[in-house]
């Protein structure tokens, strides 16, 4: 008995020492925040302060920003506000949370809304506008958006004819990751059309390899990578007009053109000869975390992986992302025509009050100045659809490629459809049905019919 008690006390003592050491360690080392690489120091960058003078003297005011962007991507955000703070004397308080989407609604409803929130889904923006808490964008922001953004981006920030939220960052989803060195060793060429891509897949399969790897696991959100596949192919096989009608439910969800598109996806994702390189059978797609799904490319057990530009953050440290490096990406090729349509996502800046400091900050965020400052302080993995962004300022070649896609006036851009559909579908039925489609081999027609039946009555 006494022996045991003493042992416990010793364990407690050891634990206590551990805490003390941890605390001491924290005090001793003053390491600065992440980032790294060849990024610029925000304090060295300066902008033209003139656009913010019309908002009056803002010295000493604070603007709170609430976002879903957390460590390590948050530090470049905070750094990118420095030139604005130096111009105006406004103090921008940044807060990021992974529970942003749930917490923002709680805060807005209890009257504790932040000044500005970065909203990643147009659908959520519409919900918030419905509560009456969001204020329309000031005229300076409207002018900036008209000048720097493609018309389609403006419509995603518009609810019922009123423009509320300017676009901020963006990501391009129509990418296929591959290993340039593996392609070169095997003598494969980057495919330029869908048919070439299928031919290449056949060639790899015949030589005994598995051309594709995929994973749609993502906790509660399992299934979303599959929705991107479907959207990308609808955009290619049926065209942007049909895509818009489909997203807005002007045609049924199980329209024959959508069935055809999903069957095209199935030709790759449900083809046992093609998948799932290095990870297992077809069913393993449903159980593999999306973040890990592309990693077999590194050891050569898989050759292609369709995922957005932000996937570059998932490659382990030391992986060279470049056209002649360990991994790179090519645009998912078009089925018809020359140029590949671009599927993408992004955040929008919604303001919850119209104080001059807040409006000045909104104006800054929608300007080309901000996009360029942000590009210079960011590491790889950030891009904006702002056409005032100088592509040279981006660090990573994949971001440069994405920015070129966004800025190409001929490229068709469409926002991620599942973010535009009602939440019950875009963040619910579509996820689960597509997971069933892969995991339980549910027939294509039935999957789409079940989603159609789940669509909320208007």
């Amino acid at each position: 008995m006494t022996m045991r008690a003493r042992g416990r006390r010793n364990a407690a003592l050891a634990g206590g020492l551990g805490v003390a050491m941890v605390l001491a360690g924290c005090g001793a080392s003053e390491t600065s925040g992440g980032g790294g690489g060849d990024t610029a120091d925000a304090a060295d960058l300066s902008i033209d302060c003139a656009p913010y003078e019309e908002f009056g003297d803002l010295e000493g005011q604070t603007v709170s920003v609430y976002t879903s962007i957390v460590d390590p991507e948050d530090q470049p955000q905070i750094d990118s506000y420095v030139p604005f703070e130096e111009c105006t004397g406004v103090d921008v308080q940044y807060e990021g949370s992974r529970e942003f989407e749930a917490q923002l609604v709680v805060r807005v409803q209890s009257g504790n809304a932040p000044d500005i929130a970065f909203i990643p889904q147009p659908g959520l923006l519409a919900t918030l506008v419905g509560t009456g808490a969001v204020v329309p964008a000031p005229e300076q922001v409207v002018a900036n958006v008209d000048e720097y953004w493609d018309e389609s981006w403006k419509t995603y920030g518009t609810v019922d004819g009123t423009f509320y939220a300017a676009p901020l960052g963006a990501n391009a989803k129509s990418f296929v990751w591959y290993s340039p060195s593996a392609f070169e060793d095997a003598g494969y060429e980057v495919p330029q059309t869908w048919d070439e891509m299928v031919a290449l897949s056949d060639q790899i399969a015949e030589s005994g390899g598995k051309p594709w790897c995929a994973g749609i696991g993502s906790g509660d959100a399992t299934g979303w990578p599959a929705t991107d596949w479907l959207e990308d192919v609808v955009l290619r096989s049926a065209g942007p007009e049909v895509y818009d009608q489909w997203v807005n439910h002007e045609i049924p969800f199980n329209d024959p053109q959508i069935v055809e598109a999903l069957d095209l996806v199935g030709g790759i994702l449900k083809n046992p000869d093609y998948v799932n390189g290095g990870l297992g059978e077809v069913q393993s797609i449903a159980s593999t975390e999306f973040g890990d799904a592309g990693l077999p490319i590194l050891d050569g057990s898989c050759f292609m992986h369709r995922q957005a530009s932000f996937y570059q953050a998932n490659w382990p440290e030391g992986t060279e992302v470049a056209e002649d490096g360990d991994v790179f990406a090519f645009p998912l090729p078009p089925i018809e025509g020359e140029s590949a349509p671009v599927l993408g996502g992004g955040e929008f800046t919604a303001a919850f009050n119209d104080e001059p400091a807040v409006q000045a900050f909104q104006t800054y965020l929608s300007s080309a100045d901000w996009a360029n400052v942000k590009a210079q302080v960011s590491g790889p993995g950030w891009v904006s659809a702002n056409t005032g962004l100088d592509v040279e300022n981006l660090v990573s070649p994949i971001d440069q490629l994405a920015a070129e896609q966004f800025q190409d006036p001929n490229a068709v851009f469409r926002f991620d459809g599942s973010d535009l559909m009602p939440g019950e579908i875009g963040a619910g039925a579509l996820w689960t049905e597509l997971t069933n489609w892969i995991a339980n081999d549910k027939p294509t027609q039935q999957v789409l019919t079940d989603v159609e039946n789940a669509w909320p009555a208007a």
Binding site: G16, S97, R98, Q103, V106, R107, S110, N112
Partner: protein, 307 residues
Amino acid sequence: MTTTTPVMAPVPVDERRLTRAERRAVAARTKFSSPAASVIALVIAVLWTVPTLGLLITSFRPELDIRRSGWWTVFTDPTFTLDNYNEVLYGGGTNFASLFVNSLVITLPAVVIPITLALLAAYAFAWIDFPGRNVLFVAVFALQVVPIQVTLIPLLSIYVDTGLAGSFWTIWLSHSIFALPLAVFLLHNFMKEIPASLVEAARMDGAGHVKIFFQVLLPLLTPAIAAFGVFQFLWVWNDLLVALTFAGGAPDVVPLTVRVAELAGTRGSDWYLLAAGAFVSIVLPLVVFLGLQRYFVRGLLAGSVKG
């Protein structure tokens, strides 16, 4: 270890005079100290510890290993690194030491306030006869069934209206509110168990309520207070929901758990850090639990089971 205690140790003179409860207690003691029971206990203990052990091992493995294989592969291919802990403690823009302090600053008052209030309330419910006492006591305990989720938005609205939002007060008050029903109930039951004759004797000697409370009851209540303290400490320390909701908008007030929740990164790509983060955040609760374990178990039985 458990030496096989002689079964018949405190058997009174006459076996027939044993009450049913006592007989059952003796039988239980025999059953629980049998070798079979020890083996079962050992197996359960191992089963329950394996996931934690896996987590501990994972927290020391290199990133790529964590992503590509399970922790059990260390037995064939042992590679360890402190990088994960380095990243959790010093990586990113947040200062871990200040978060640790925040967690402490949140936890201590959130434990002391409800215990203090609940002690006073429990005393009144147990030893002061006032009209409506039972109804009120049931009403207080009935609050235990209110799920805290339904209170989040109304409570936050009140804090915003009174200007408290964004300070430690919101978290202290919220935790106190949520803890009080159970605290009052547990401490009341414990106080009731103290023989009435003890309190009456003190009263005969001329002691008032204050004197009885501090000099007679409080010393006897120490295990119950410690037990509830451990309970509440662990709950508050591990809490994410309350802190996230009420400390929201005030980054200098958030506790450790909020930072651990953000560790995985915007798109979950850094989930390999979670094992190390979990271990950093359980260091203190582990110390508290090991230190006060005896009270914990004793107090668990104290409030609920009579006799």
